[in-house]
Amino acid sequence: MTAAAVTTRRPAWRPGALAWRLVRGLAHRLLPLAVLIAAWEVATRVAESPFFPPPSDIVPRMRDMWFAGPASHLFFSGGARDSMAPSLARMTVALVLSAVVGIVLGLALGRSERALAYLEPVLQFARVIPPPTLVPVFVALMHLGTQMQITSIVFGAVWPILLNTADGARSVDATQMQTAEAFRLSGPQRIRYLIIPSALPKIFAGLRLALSLSLILMVFSELLPGTADGLGFELTNAQSQSDMLTIWAVIVLLGVLGYLFNTILLAVERRVLSWHRGARKANS
């Protein structure tokens, strides 16, 4: 976390020094990645295995598949529209649904001892069921396709959000709670100005877990019957044709997407929870 440490320290910044720090921070982060890719390139070139194409072949394939479009479409091609877009849409919808359901239920459970006592065993039971094993149940209950795909993602991704939110909502500071009581904040005001903010660090921890889970489950859900598009579908398709280059292209793309989403979420978290870091530092 060198970059975070660099940006939060605050001596008088000269623009030159700031730029130098940024460059240095980026270099520290990118260097291991560059070394890894170089080693990968060399190893695959030496091995010449048809199962392990070198990165210098994978990247052009990725460009051909998804990024050969016109500049007006930000270089996204028709391939991106047919595979990336549906996948990302499913993942986004499912993640938003998981967040809404997880946070609302989590707050309710965290604030009601009775609800928690009743539901905790059920939740722990439901949580440990791997979503793939439920597919036959979902198939019986729902239409094949989008509805079932989203359900499968939500069923896996909702748990870390729900349980973390409940945990955060339960551990609201007693003095803060008494303050809210002494100043007669109404129920909704307490939720909005006290309970949600104090649970927010935990909620974000849950969201980060849910994000990586939903990426995994997104691919998985597209391997289910009734799928005609998406990255997972492209993967199965390539597999059936032993098209190793496409398989690798999808794998690398998934890695890049995961990294990208996580970076975005971290940036949002850093912004929303800036008070949390500040307060923690001030108290230590």
């Binding site: 003095t175 002494a182 100043f183 904040l185 008070w275 500040g278």
Partner: protein, 274 residues
């Protein structure tokens, strides 16, 4: 509503036979009687763990008494009264770290049906009255302990309570800051004309700040002694504390807190050598 006791000094708070036992059977308060007239600054002092905070929480409506009655402005206290504000000892946990100082002060005013603009103006005014006119945009944790406690006081003042409860408010700040905050309480009391109940375990503080000092028994709490403080009202940290009256009264309160009996007729000016 008729107000029968207009001739007498109006009674702000009346406590009769207050008893509070916790669920584990520990009796914190046992048959306490106390009357506080409107506009008084009352210090409540007692040995640590004597039930001072329990008493304060009962008055604030945060704890339900086991028996006895409390009335505020003639109305019985069931739940948190509307015109009462509390300053807690633990300022760092009583202020919300995710809100700016101004939003912390303005938050309780949402209950008052004020517009956003009015709330902000009231918060700004309260912050100015505690000597922090420029801190509104900062976060509480960016301020020193003493300043954070000033923010808590501002939050209570903006709420415009008729009764202000302070629970060992200066227990965790350094000596210099403590004196400044004591003077702030005196100034607030003088300018805003509100009734203040200050719970403390600091004997000097109870005498220096109070119009009247109530000493509580060791647990379970009951009123052990009730002394008027006859000190001149323009108090000064150096001068007032040097007055013979102050020294005598402090000694008297100190003896009472340690469990001594009240010397009959021991008025502030006469006696108290124990």
């Amino acid at each position: 509503m008729e107000r029968p006791q207009t001739e007498k000094a109006k009674e702000m708070l009346q406590i009769t036979g207050l008893t509070h036992s916790y669920a584990d059977g520990h009796r914190a308060i046992d048959g306490l009687d106390l009357t506080v007239p409107d506009g008084q600054l009352l210090s409540i002092v007692g040995p640590s763990g004597c039930g001072k905070s329990t008493l304060l929480r009962c008055i604030a409506g945060l704890l339900r008494p086991t028996s006895g009655t409390l009335t505020l402005n003639g109305a019985p206290i069931n739940g948190v009264p509307d015109d009462l504000a509390v300053v807690f000892q633990d300022y760092s946990r009583s202020l919300f770290p995710w809100l700016t100082v101004r939003d912390n002060v303005a938050l309780p005013l949402r209950r008052r049906g004020m517009s956003r603009k009015e709330r902000r103006a009231a918060a700004q005014e309260a912050l100015a009255s505690v000597g922090l006119p420029d801190a509104g945009r900062k976060y509480p944790w960016q301020l020193s302990g003493g300043m954070q406690q000033r923010v808590s006081i501002a939050r209570a003042l903006a709420y415009r309570p008729s009764l202000l409860l302070m629970d060992e408010p200066f227990g965790s700040v350094d000596a210099q800051t403590r004196e400044d905050l004591e003077d702030l309480v005196l100034q607030v009391h003088r300018t805003q004309k509100i009734t203040i109940l200050l719970v403390t375990h600091d004997i000097d503080e109870s005498v220096y700040v109070g119009d009247r000092v109530v000493v509580l028994n060791r647990s379970p709490a009951r009123v052990h002694a009730d002394l008027p403080v006859g000190l001149p009202s323009g108090r000064d940290q150096i001068e007032t504390r040097g007055l013979p009256q102050f020294v005598q009264l402090r000694a008297e309160v100190g003896r009472l807190v340690r469990g001594g009996a009240k010397v009959p007729g021991a008025a502030p000016a006469s006696g108290g050598r124990g």
